[in-house]
């Protein structure tokens, strides 16, 4: 019956690999939260856009996440200054007007 034992070991090993991967994924927060494919499509809307490497796509995605964080937190600051508990559109507008790195948005949106 020895050949059967070898096959059993094979099955146990594969289960171990699957479990350890699942545990790892569960333990750590996701590295990237926004969908890569969607962002690639957004980038490709520009007809002049060249090919994009996978690394570049990761960086753009992560940058967008960081930008979101930045914008959200700045907007919250302005909400706080207005002594309110809900972020309104005008708080986001205020962030755009007052934070230098966000000024590119002024007029960029309809």
């Amino acid at each position: 019956m020895e050949e059967y034992n070898e096959v059993d070991i094979e099955i146990v090993e594969s289960e171990k690999i699957a479990t350890s991967e699942a545990t790892e994924a569960a333990d750590k927060p996701k590295l990237i939260k926004l969908p890569l494919t969607r962002i690639k499509h957004i980038m490709k809307m520009d007809p002049d856009c060249s090919l994009i490497s996978q690394d570049a796509l990761f960086l753009v995605t992560k940058s967008a996440e960081m930008f979101l964080e930045h914008l959200a937190k700045e907007s919250v600051k302005f909400m706080g200054m207005g002594k309110r508990k809900t972020v309104q559109k005008r708080d986001v507008d205020a962030a755009i007007d007052n934070v230098p790195s966000l000024c590119f948005l002024d007029g960029a949106l309809e």
Partner: protein, 171 residues
């Protein structure tokens, strides 16, 4: 009108309407500032700003890529674009995440080959599988044979203990 069906789940969407998914954005905002409520109008604006940011960043990176006479936008171009646009402070964290992503991907590749490297080649596994099937078939056939023989025996017994034919009638 462009109908797009792709892995990210877009269906029947005009290119112009392409934005980041609202659900992802809302989830992220919730995690960033949990105790704060956000008006829908504000969410929408934030969403559009992020999409606009992507346009800006990729446009700048594309320009740098062209200036360097390359055909593909690579990581270096994006990092330079961040610096140029005033988001240089994003560089460190972005690079760190990229490094982690690559490490995870490499690990996953190694693990998928770990299975193949257990020392049992595929042909051998196949052979063992065939053996198991053959054995199972044999056992099945044997069991059926046994059953048939039992039935036969039972039937014969039943006949034997049944009342005998009255041959007297024919004499």
């Amino acid at each position: 009108m462009s109908n797009q069906n792709n892995a990210s789940g877009l269906t029947n969407t005009e290119d112009d309407e392409l934005t980041l998914p609202r659900a992802s954005i809302n989830k992220m905002i919730k995690e960033l500032v949990p105790s704060v409520r956000i008006a829908n109008e504000a969410r929408e604006l934030i969403l559009n700003c992020c999409t606009e940011f992507i346009h800006l960043l990729s446009s700048e990176a594309n320009e740098i890529c062209n200036q360097l006479h390359k055909k593909t936008i690579n990581a270096e171009h994006v990092l330079m674009a961040l610096e140029k646009l005033g988001f240089g402070d994003y560089q460190t964290e972005a690079e760190a995440v990229l490094k982690d992503c690559k490490a995870v991907a490499a690990k996953r590749r190694r693990q998928s080959t770990r299975l193949e490297n257990l020392g049992i080649p595929e042909e051998e596994l196949l052979r063992q599988q065939q053996e198991l099937f053959a054995k199972a078939r044999q056992e099945q056939a044997f069991a059926e044979q046994q059953q048939w023989e039992q039935l036969q025996a039972a039937a014969q017994q039943a006949q034997a203990s049944a009342p005998p034919n009255n041959d007297d009638d024919y004499e």
